[in-house]
């Protein structure tokens, strides 16, 4: 493995100062699940590794009905998965985090680390986009807040600027009865990344879709929101035709590549199928919660 110096700041201010001091030579570490592999494979060669694990209260998970959910960047996947407010108020997040790798890796990896890596194959980003989440980025001089959707810029590239640390993820309160679905389609088994990942939320009004968020991982250089596809259904009556049209548009909006999980063409086809499936799951769930609810369209 590459050699480096290891620093363990005791506060965020100290971490920002160290980051400024060492600039490009430094890398931050939290759970280590991504960085250690990249260093072992010599894809990254930092001279200094700055650990965020000794910063007090960097892994909080708090919920307030008015404000929503706030996750410290150091919160681990497993803790988010098991947190009561997540389970109760953000079932989409609970479901998503439950599917990340396996429990041992969820015990280690942090949500902040996951996002700043900008790896388009990982799961949490799409569900955070579907819930309109935003991230707080701090540097020595101040902070800014941007939507998760805007955070992913290119393959393994995020909007994080030199000297910045991602400190918090904020998920606004979900409107009551928000319909949702998450599908992680695996090539073989749990330890694989998704061939296609879909996260969907819909605000329903009778049989109409008042509002919608549709996001994907593993089918583009970034974890992406499919805005053109959303437009097909937003404000419209939900029926087979429209959902099919939305799935069609989504399959052209994504930008997958050939890899060991399948060809680009196969993944586009999967997107077409999974979008319909996600809508059906979301509607089924919504009508199960409300027994008088509408009938879901025929399964894809």
């Amino acid at each position: 493995m590459v050699t480096f110096d290891y620093l363990e700041p005791k506060s965020l201010e100290e971490a920002c100062a160290l980051l400024n001091e060492h600039g490009d030579d430094a890398r931050l570490i939290a759970g280590g699940t991504a960085l250690i592999i990249m260093m072992r494979q010599r894809l990254l060669n930092p001279r200094v590794v700055i650990s965020l694990t000794s910063i007090p209260n960097f892994d909080y998970i708090t919920f307030d009905a008015k404000d929503g959910l706030r996750l410290g960047a150091g919160a681990r996947h497993r803790d988010i998965e098991l947190a009561k407010p997540v389970h109760e108020h953000y079932p989409l997040l609970h479901e998503t985090f439950r599917k990340v790798a396996q429990p041992r890796i969820r015990n280690m990896g942090t949500i902040g680390g996951n996002l700043v890596q900008g790896d388009p194959l990982t799961d949490p980003g799409a569900s955070l986009i579907a819930l309109d989440a935003e991230v707080t980025l701090k540097n020595a001089g101040g902070q800014r807040v941007i939507p998760v959707e805007k955070f992913f810029v290119d393959y393994y590239q995020t909007d994080l600027q030199p000297g910045e640390i991602l400190t918090e993820i904020h998920v606004p309160p979900s409107p009551p009865g928000l319909a949702w679905a998450h599908i992680k389609f695996l090539p073989r088994s749990l330890e694989d990344f998704a061939t296609v990942g879909v996260a969907l939320t819909m605000r329903l009004g009778g049989d109409r879709c008042e509002d919608i968020r549709l996001a994907f991982n593993s089918v583009a250089p970034i974890i992406m929101r499919a805005k053109r596809a959303e437009e097909v259904l937003r404000g419209q009556k939900i029926d087979d035709d429209r959902v099919g049209k939305m799935a069609e548009v989504a399959s052209t909006e994504v930008d997958p590549m050939d890899d060991n999980r399948g060809s680009a063409e196969y993944k586009r086809e999967l997107v077409r199928v999974l979008v319909r499936r996600a809508v059906n799951q979301a509607l089924d769930r919504a009508s199960a919660a409300k027994p008088s609810g509408r009938q879901a369209p025929a399964p894809a």
Partner: protein, 180 residues
């Protein structure tokens, strides 16, 4: 630059001199000499290197030793107490939970981490939890059975002789009776 590092492993303090890039896995195996923890994939997937750090099951192949300062580390060597096997170890013997054995320390440590936080997991919970520990020999069923045996308190007395253990295991396989 090398630095002094104290590691608390299985209740003992070890003082070692390591580079900051030393992985916990290699510190345990090569600096301390506890080779029960195995290295398989080196990328966090297989679970052979599983250890418990500060109450959490982790991959020691993705953990820096310097990050374990002041935390309790449990490895497979820490399970047997006063010459008696841990019930999980006993169960893996009685129920045939291993064959070649390379994955076994990780399996047992992972199972221990589960039972520490949830002494009565459901079958589903066991399967979900153990999904991160790969085994290329057993087909998993015997591993699952071994853990179930502990959950259901079916593990035999811990002081069987080697021969009695073998008998018990053969019986548990349910295939044939041992002769002599």
């Amino acid at each position: 630059m090398k630095r002094h590092q104290a590691l608390n492993v299985n209740g003992e303090e070890y003082d070692i001199e390591i580079e900051p890039n030393r992985l916990l896995l290699h510190a345990l195996r090569d600096d301390i000499g506890l080779t029960g923890t195995k290295e398989g994939c080196s990328i966090g997937v297989c679970g052979a290197c599983s250890v418990i750090v500060g109450g959490r099951l982790v991959s020691s192949c993705l953990t820096l030793a310097v990050a374990c300062q002041g935390k309790e580390i449990t490895t497979i060597e820490g399970l047997a107490k006063d010459g008696k096997l841990h019930p999980l170890q006993q169960a893996f013997l009685e129920y045939g939970g291993f064959q070649c054995g390379i994955c076994t320390p990780g399996q047992i440590i992972a199972a221990k981490a589960l039972l520490d936080s949830n002494p009565h997991p459901t079958e589903e919970e066991i399967k979900e939890w153990m999904s991160g520990n790969l085994c290329r020999c057993t087909g998993y069923y015997k591993i699952f059975e071994s853990i179930m045996a502990v959950v259901q308190n079916k593990v035999r007395a811990e002081d069987l002789t080697a021969r009695e253990r073998r008998e018990a295991r053969i019986q548990s396989l349910g295939v044939y009776k041992s002769s002599s």
